[in-house]
Amino acid sequence: MGPPASSSSTSSDERLRRVGFVSRFLSRPETGAVAGALVIFTFFSIVAGDKGFLEPLGIRTWLQVSAQLGIIGLGATLLMIGGQFDLSVGSMIAAAGMMFLMPVVHFGWPIWLALLVTFLFAGLVGLINGTIVNRTGLPSFIVTLAFLYVLRGLTLGVTRAVTGTTQVSVRSFIGTVEGVVTGADARAVLKDNVFGQLFSFEFLGLPASVWWWVGLTIVASYVLLRTSFGNWIFAVGGNPEAARNSGVPVEFVRVVLFMGTATCATILALLQVFDLGSADVTRGMLKEFEAIIVAVIGGTLLTGGYGTVVGAVFGALIFGMTSQGIFIARWNTDWFRVFLGALLLVAVIFNNYIRKRATEAK
C-alpha cells in the first residue's frame, strides 16, 4: 500500500516528470522487503522445495512462524514510525501468558475473565511505558529496557510464589480437577471455550495465528494510511515538536502506540498458550529484538517518521521462511543468526538509500 500514487488531476502538468514504474517502486519503503521475500521464497523453493518447503505442512510451518513474529512486528512498526522502541515486548509475552493461564489453572477463573484482565494488564503496561517516556523525555530504549527486566522478574517471582514452579500447564489443572488426562485432551478444555476458540481455531488448514496476523495487518495498515491518527503517527515520529505545533496530541499518540505493542505481545502470548497448553516464564526471550528487526527489514526507519505496515509483513515472511527453510533443508540451523544479522545490516543501508530518494530526488 503506502502513500497512494498521484491522482489523475495533476498528471497533465508538463513539469511532472514521467516517473517510470521502476523508479516509483524503488522509492517506496516496503520495496526492499518485498524483493527480499521473493528472493528468499525462490531460493528455498529451489533448494528445499522437494524436502517439504512447498508442501502444505511446510507452508503451514513457516507461515505460522512468520505470523507469530509478524503480529509483534506490527506493533513495533507502528511504534517505530512514531519514533519509539519497545524492548519490553519479549518479557510482556511471558507476563501476559502467565497473567492469563495462572488464574485459570490455580484460581479457577473463567476464561473470559482471565482474558479481560490480561488485556487490561497489557493496556496498563503500555500506559506506564508511554507515560514514563512522555514525562521524563528519556529515550524509550532505556525506559523499556528497564521494563524488560522488571516484567521478566515480576513474572518469575509471582509465578514461583504462587505455583512453586516456573511453568503453568493446563495438564496439571486437569489432573487435579478431573483426574488423569493426556495433554492433548487437556488442551481441548481451553479450546472448547467460546473465547478460547478465538485463539485456537483453524481455517482453510491454517492456524489462528495466521488469521490474526492477516486481520491485524489490515487494521494497522488502515489506521496508518486512512485515519487522522495514522497521520499523527508519522508526524510524531518525524518531528514531535512540529507535530505539537500543528495541534497533534503527541503524548496521547505515544501512549496508544505503547499500548499497541503490549497488546500485540499479549495476542501472541495467548496464541502460544492455546497452542501449547502452557505458559512459561522464559517465553518470549529476544522477541523484542526480532520485532524490531521485522520492522526494519520492512523498511521502517529506525529514526521514525517513515515506514509501512505492508513492509513489516514481508519482513516477517523473510524471517519465517529463512528460519524454517534452513530447518527444512536440513542445514545447520546455527547459521540462521549469522544470516539474520547480515540481513539487518543490508536492510538498514538499503532503507537509508530509499529515504534519500524519497526526500532528495526529483
Partner: protein
C-alpha cells in the same frame, strides 16, 4: 474580520519571567486586519517569548492578550489555533518525510464516514492542497511528493497557505526568511504580502531589517525584553529602524572600532610590515 479600528490582536503590558530571568518586561503591541506588523529585535530580545505567548505555548506572567477586543487566555497552541491564530514556526511545523497533502492537513485532517469508519479523506486532502498552493502562486507537481523534496521557500508556502486555508485571522511568522537565500526570501515575502491582501493580520518576526522593511506596515522594536516603541512605515527610514534595533550608540561604537582596525592596518602597511615594534597607535580597547 475585525474591520475598521479595532485591532485583531492586542498585547498589553506583557511581562514574562522564567525564574529570575525577566524575558519580557511590559511589552505592548497591536495589529489590525490587512496589516503586516514586523517584530524586530536582536537575538535574545524576547521575540520568541512573545510569539510563544501569542500562539498559546505558555501564558504571560502579567499582562493581557486581547483578541478582537476581548481578553483571552489560551489553554494550548491548539486552542489559539482554533481561535484563529496560526503560527508558522522558525523550525517549521512541517514533516519533511510526509507528503504535501498530509502535511497540509496535519492535525486537522478532513474525514468522511461515521463512527469507527470515520477515515482520512485522502482525495479531498490532495485536491485542496493543490488548489490552495496554486492560489498562493505555487504550482505543486504532485501532492504525494514528500515535502523534503521542496525548496525552503516552497516549504514556507505550504505552512502559510495552510494557515490561510484554515481561516486564520492572525498569521504569525517566526523568522521565515532566516535560513533562506536572497531569492527564496523574496518569494516568501511575496506570500506574506498575499496573506495581507487576503485580509489577515500578519506578525512577522525577524532580525533582518532588509526583509522586514519592504513588506512591513509598522515596526515594533524589542530590545532586551522591553519595547522600544512601534513606528509606522511613513515615520521611519530603514536606517532608523536598523539603528533602533541594535541601538544607535552601539552601532556608532562599532563603527569607530572598525575604523581603528582599518587605520592600524594602514599604519602597518606604511611601515613596510617589517619587524618594527608596533607602537600602540591602533590600540583597540575592548
Amino acid at each position: 474580520m475585525a474591520g475598521d479600528g479595532t485591532p485583531v490582536v492586542e498585547l498589553r503590558d506583557i511581562v514574562k519571567t522564567f525564574g529570575r530571568v525577566v524575558a519580557l518586561s511590559g511589552v505592548s503591541m497591536s495589529v489590525r486586519a490587512g496589516e503586516v506588523m514586523c517584530l524586530l529585535g536582536d537575538n535574545g530580545a524576547g521575540k520568541s517569548t512573545l510569539i510563544k505567548i501569542l500562539s498559546g505555548v505558555f501564558p504571560p506572567t502579567k499582562g493581557e492578550v486581547r483578541l478582537r477586543g476581548e481578553p483571552v487566555t489560551f489553554a494550548s497552541p491548539r486552542d489559539a489555533q482554533q481561535r484563529g491564530i496560526a503560527t508558522v514556526h522558525q523550525h517549521l511545523a512541517i514533516q519533511p518525510l510526509m507528503s504535501v497533502s498530509r502535511n497540509f492537513f496535519l492535525g486537522r485532517e478532513p474525514t468522511i464516514g461515521w463512527g469507527p469508519l470515520k477515515r482520512f479523506d485522502v482525495g479531498t486532502a490532495r485536491r485542496v492542497a493543490v488548489e490552495e498552493m496554486a492560489r498562493m502562486g505555487i504550482d505543486i507537481r504532485d501532492p504525494d511528493q514528500a515535502v523534503g523534496t521542496m525548496s525552503g521557500g516552497e516549504r514556507q508556502c505550504v505552512a502559510i497557505s495552510r494557515a490561510v486555508y484554515f481561516g486564520a485571522e492572525v498569521l504569525i511568522l517566526d523568522e521565515p526568511t532566516a535560513a533562506l537565500g536572497v531569492r527564496q526570501a523574496g518569494t516568501v515575502l511575496r506570500y506574506v504580502a498575499q496573506a495581507r491582501a487576503r485580509g489577515l493580520a500578519v506578525i512577522l518576526i525577524t532580525h533582518n531589517v532588509h526583509h522586514a522593511y519592504p513588506v512591513g506596515d509598522a515596526f515594533t522594536i524589542l530590545r532586551r525584553g522591553s519595547s522600544y516603541g512601534t513606528f509606522r512605515k511613513s515615520d521611519v527610514s530603514r536606517e532608523e529602524v536598523l539603528g533602533m534595533m541594535s541601538g544607535t550608540e552601539e552601532l556608532d561604537a562599532l563603527e569607530s572600532e572598525l575604523e581603528e582596525f582599518a587605520r592600524s592596518d594602514r599604519d602597518e602597511a606604511a611601515r613596510g610590515g617589517g619587524g618594527g615594534a608596533r607602537t600602540g597607535g591602533g590600540g583597540v580597547t575592548g
